[in-house]
């Protein structure tokens, strides 16, 4: 049944992603973005990465998207008034994307392991929350600290950049 789920979710994700790119109004784009993120979370589940899926929902569909919408409202961006479409640019862009996709497909095909099915998982293993958690706090301690610094820096930065007047 995962197979069907996979196809449904991926189509949903890709479709909404395309919508993000194509829709003219930022608000709609944002909404589609949420959708595609949720679908992505679903895909994580199909890969038995429950923890990541949840984080995805929380962080992206939650925090990030709220932020986006908030900003959009704040700046109350109108729909992108149709400026003269720069044909050369769009054509170039599409060419690049196409080329990239083409290349990617070939690479995936060439990768031997890509044809293999996924190995079975150990059913009576502890949940992956445990796994990720232990790994994170035991082995990945150093990067975690750095992430902390990074968050601190970005907080300070955001404050400095968006405060109306600095004291």
């Amino acid at each position: 049944m995962f197979t069907i789920l996979f196809w449904v979710l991926s189509l949903l994700m890709l479709g909404s992603a395309v919508a993000v790119v194509l829709l003219r109004n930022p608000v709609n784009s944002a909404m589609c973005l949420v959708l595609s993120f949720l679908a992505l979370a679903g895909l994580y589940i199909t890969l038995d990465a429950f923890f990541i899926g949840i984080i995805q929902v929380l962080v992206y569909a939650g925090a990030v998207m709220v932020l986006f919408l908030f900003i959009i409202m704040l700046l109350d961006l109108k729909a992108e008034v149709r400026r003269r479409l720069n044909l050369a640019a769009s054509a170039g862009g599409i060419a690049v994307i196409g080329g990239f996709a083409l290349l990617l497909v070939q690479v995936v095909k060439s990768l031997p392991s890509s044809a293999h099915p996924f190995p079975a998982l150990n059913p009576d293993a502890p949940g992956d929350v445990v796994g990720v958690g232990t790994t994170l706090f035991s082995h990945f301690n150093l990067p975690l600290q750095i992430i902390g610094v990074l968050l601190l820096v970005s907080t300070v930065g955001v404050v400095v950049l968006s405060r109306r007047t600095l004291r």
Binding site: A89, G92, G93, V96, G99, F100
Partner: protein, 602 residues
């Protein structure tokens, strides 16, 4: 004072004088004169002493330029009879002319410069005489050229003088080009630059006759320049722009004879070299002596007439080198010629001074009565020059003609013709300038020149007459006794007479202007014009083309072109920085694709 030092003193006294004048007495005309004359006198005295002492005292050789084991140019002095005779001629005549100059140059602001240059000349001339190897001779050869340049350009404010000086130097340089090349060829073949060394190793070149011929003729080019042989004779008449004493000393008596002297030095080499060499030398001499005579017949400037006669006499000497069995024949004529030609010029100088620098014979006339002494000396000189029996010229010239008669009939007749021309133009000069009525104000009031100038004339008159007598000559030369056929005598005497009669017929009646006009001769066979064309058109043209190419092709097109291209490329490249974010993103993506394809599919 050790006799071995004498040659050095002879050589360097004039140089010292020159330096002293240049650095210590730049403003003191009289003092300069005294110093210069003193030095010349010392040299003269010592050379006489050297000559009378006889034998050749050993002379140390100083090393001058040396690359150990490879190449060395020592300073070696030769004192063989040839050199010693030459020393006498040079120093004696120089001393006389130095003294004469004191009178001639009176009142000139450039006297120190004049005497400095004159002393420098004497030094260099003596150097040529004494030098024992080619390079050393070349050194003094050049120095002679320089001093002549300075002296011809003494009146440098006159454009004519300035140009003449430049031309004289450059023409000589052209000759020296060949000279040096010849030296190089001899050195390469024989491994020596010393005359003696070359003569010893001659065997090593006689293997390559062609090479030897080329070398010998190239060295002969030096003579062409210095001794004003065709086709490099053009500078000598122009050099008459210099003061008359200079003309008489450098451009009549000594310097121009250096070429002949050099040929005499390498006479053994010439003798050993193929027939062709002597052929060429002979013909050039013959042509020169005849053509110069032709040109002389139509000149109006008293000094130019004498100049052309000098050229023609030098021609005789060159012929002599080619035809005679010994170099002394040529040097003999050089010897006599030095005296009487110097005399003639000094007479001309006296005339010019007393006519306030009037040189055109058609503005003279009747000078015989006004300055008889000068006239007398001039007659003596003339007779010597034309080869009047009993005068020195007769002996030396007849000898040459005689050898020519044995050597080559055509050349013989040419030389005889030249003799005819000689007597013609000399008597023309005499008749026009000294007989008849004065043709100008200046000539009316011409007076005898001061003693300091007349005295040298008288002194010189003596050797001009006597130097040729066998009794005298054999002290100086060992001329191979030679029974000359009568035809030579008759030919020469009739030529002399014919020339005289012709001149008398045309000019004795004292015409106010020249009854005959032959533009071809008057314009020196148009040779000067040809050179002018060569310089202005050919050389100038090449120069201008060259500089155009350098300016616009090498520099403009290539160098600047490259720079411009780089600059333009930069200008275009920076336009890629559109400033548009999306463009950047696009370039970025394209770059990514390019890199990936390069990595995976290459």
């Amino acid at each position: 004072m050790a006799p071995s030092l004498h040659p050095w003193i002879i050589l360097f006294a004039p140089l010292v004088a020159s330096a002293v004048i240049l650095f210590l007495l730049p403003r003191r005309g009289v003092a300069a004169g005294i110093v210069a004359i003193g030095a010349a006198a010392i040299a003269c005295g010592l050379s006489w002493r050297l000559f009378l002492a006889g034998g050749s005292p050993p002379v140390a050789a100083l090393s001058w330029l040396e690359v150990p084991g490879q190449f060395s140019v020592p300073i070696t002095l030769i004192l063989d009879p040839l050199a010693r005779v030459m020393l006498l001629v040079v120093t004696t005549i120089s001393t006389i002319v130095f003294i004469y100059s004191a009178g001639y140059m009176r009142g000139d602001e450039g006297i120190p410069r004049y005497y400095a240059a004159l002393s420098l000349f004497l030094f260099s001339m003596l150097g040529i005489v004494l030098s024992g190897n080619f390079i050393m001779m070349y050194v003094f050869w050049e120095l002679v050229g320089v001093s002549s340049y300075i002296l011809i350009g003494h009146y440098f404010r006159k454009d004519a003088a300035a140009d003449a000086a430049k031309q004289a130097f450059l023409v000589n340089r052209v000759g020296d080009f060949g000279f040096m090349l010849g030296i190089l060829m001899f050195w390469l073949a024989t491994g020596s630059i010393a005359f003696s060394g070359i003569e010893q190793n001659l065997a090593s070149i006689t293997l390559h006759p062609g090479y030897l011929t080329a070398a010998a003729l190239l060295v002969f080019c030096g003579t062409l320049g210095k001794s004003a042989q065709m086709p490099l004779h053009v500078w000598l008449p122009n050099s008459m722009e210099g003061p008359t004493p200079v003309s008489s000393l450098l451009h009549a008596a000594t310097m121009v004879a250096a070429g002949v002297y050099m040929l005499a030095r390498i006479f053994p080499v010439l003798a050993a070299s193929p027939e062709a060499v002597r052929e060429v030398i002979m013909w050039i001499g013959a042509i020169t002596c005849f053509a110069a005579g032709l040109m002389a017949t139509q000149q109006d400037d008293i000094k130019r007439i004498l100049a052309y006669s000098t050229i023609s006499q030098l021609g005789y000497m060159v012929v002599a080198i080619a035809v005679a069995p010994a170099s002394d024949v040529a040097v003999f004529h050089l010897f006599t010629h030095a005296f009487f030609k110097c005399l003639l010029f000094l007479c001309a100088g006296a005339v010019i001074i007393s006519l306030h620098h009037e040189q055109d014979i058609w503005k003279m006339g009747g000078l015989l009565s006004r300055m008889p002494l000068t006239a007398l000396c001039l007659v003596a000189g003339t007779l010597a020059l034309v080869g009047m029996p009993g005068f020195s010229g007769y002996y030396s010239k007849d000898l040459i003609v005689a050898y020519a008669h044995e050597g080559n009939t055509a050349v013989f007749w040419i030389t005889v013709g030249a003799a005819l021309l000689t007597s013609f133009y000399m008597f023309r000069l005499f008749f026009v300038a000294f007989m008849g009525r004065p043709r100008s104000e200046a000539a009316e009031h011409a007076r005898q020149a001061p003693t300091i100038m007349t005295l040298p004339l008288l002194i010189l008159a003596i050797p001009s007459i006597a130097a040729g007598y066998p009794a005298v000559a054999h002290h100086f030369f060992n001329i191979p006794h030679h029974e000359m056929s009568h035809i030579v005598h008759y030919a020469l005497l009739s030529a002399l007479g014919a020339g005289f009669l012709l001149a008398a017929a045309l000019y004795l009646r004292g015409p106010t202007k020249d009854p005959v006009r032959i533009p071809l001769f008057a314009n020196r066979l148009y040779i000067d014009n040809f050179y002018a064309w060569l310089v202005t058109c050919v050389q100038g043209g090449l120069a201008i083309i060259g500089s155009w190419f350098d300016r616009w092709i090498i520099d403009g097109l290539i160098v600047t072109g490259v720079a411009r291209t780089v600059w333009a490329t930069g200008y275009i490249l920076r336009l890629l920085q559109l400033g548009n974010l999306q463009a950047y993103a696009f370039f970025f993506g394209a770059g990514v694709l390019a890199v990936l394809y390069f990595l995976i599919f290459r």
